[in-house]
Amino acid sequence: MAVASVSALAEQLDVSPDKLAFLAGFADLSALEDAVAQALGADDEAIHQGLQHAVNLIPRPLRGRATKLLMPGGEV
């Protein structure tokens, strides 16, 4: 169970499971996984919202260029 959790955490963090090998000794990593998932989720939300709100605050003459810069090809 611990190995699977280390793998899941490594995937969350986009690192090799070897880097988290020391965590294999812990039976239950769910609290850490949950905390990391919450932090990453909050980041995603904050940055997506920030991009949208930033465009809305930019005056119309600059908005086209700003949208191209912030959301190239409509990507957020």
């Binding site: 969350q12 963090l13 986009d14 690192v15 880097k19 988290l20 020391f22 965590l23 000794g25 812990f26 239950d28 609290a31 850490l32 949950d34 905390a35 990391v36 919450q38 932090a39 990453l40 909050a42 980041d43 995603d44 904050a46 940055i47 920030g50 991009l51 709100h53 930033a54 809305n56 605050l57 930019i58 005056p59 600059l62 260029r65 700003a66 810069l69 912030l70 959301m71 190239p72 957020v76």
Partner: protein
Amino acid sequence: MSTLLTRLEVTKLADELGTAEEPLGFLAEATVADLRELRALITHARFARHERRLARLAGLTKLAPAALAAKIAEHALGAEVSARVATMIEPADAGKLTRHLSPEFLTDVSVSLDPERSEAVITSLPENLIVQVGQRLMARGEHLTLARFVSVYSVEVALKVLEGVGGDDLLTLGMFAEDHASLDAIVARFPDERVTAIIEAADASGRQEDAIAMLSFLSEPTRARFLAAIGALPATERKRFTKLATDLGYGELLG
């Protein structure tokens, strides 16, 4: 001592994740080095995941006038996202931007700022602004944030930030300091009265263990001044310090 030091690392990890310490308490069984590495990996992952988006937001400082970019930072991005964007802004642009940001917002940003990634930006700011933000962080009880900045502030700036700060707060800052060499350089400039105030605060509030942790970070000459302060305590209190240090495996620290 390793228990105390790992507990401090768990506190820092919980702070990085914006979560409570208790659910992560099991990690106190890990080593300090492993927990530091884990925290660094998490910090990096949180940054790398949005690096392209943050770079685009940083690009706004080139496109928009500084006053508008500041308005966007404060009203659209918020402090946490602005802190990440700040690591990607050129110091000269950051300087122009901060002139339009309120000290209160800059203080909010500092809480989420990664000192390593933003060192060039921070050190390019006017000293009085850095001191003002540092003092606001202190007033808010943001010890962990200030402790992260120990390696970025010059000793002179740190001493100005810490003017008038009491022994209890200084002890907390000392025990959480990330860079022990920088901590030592700052503490070495404290007058004897401040050293005594830290030891007396530790003694009065039962935080001898925290004081021992801080002493373990200091160089021998700086530590000697704290030992003199411990030596000046009443015999019972002095013995409590010595016994605790011995029990924690750090008896040699107190000679």
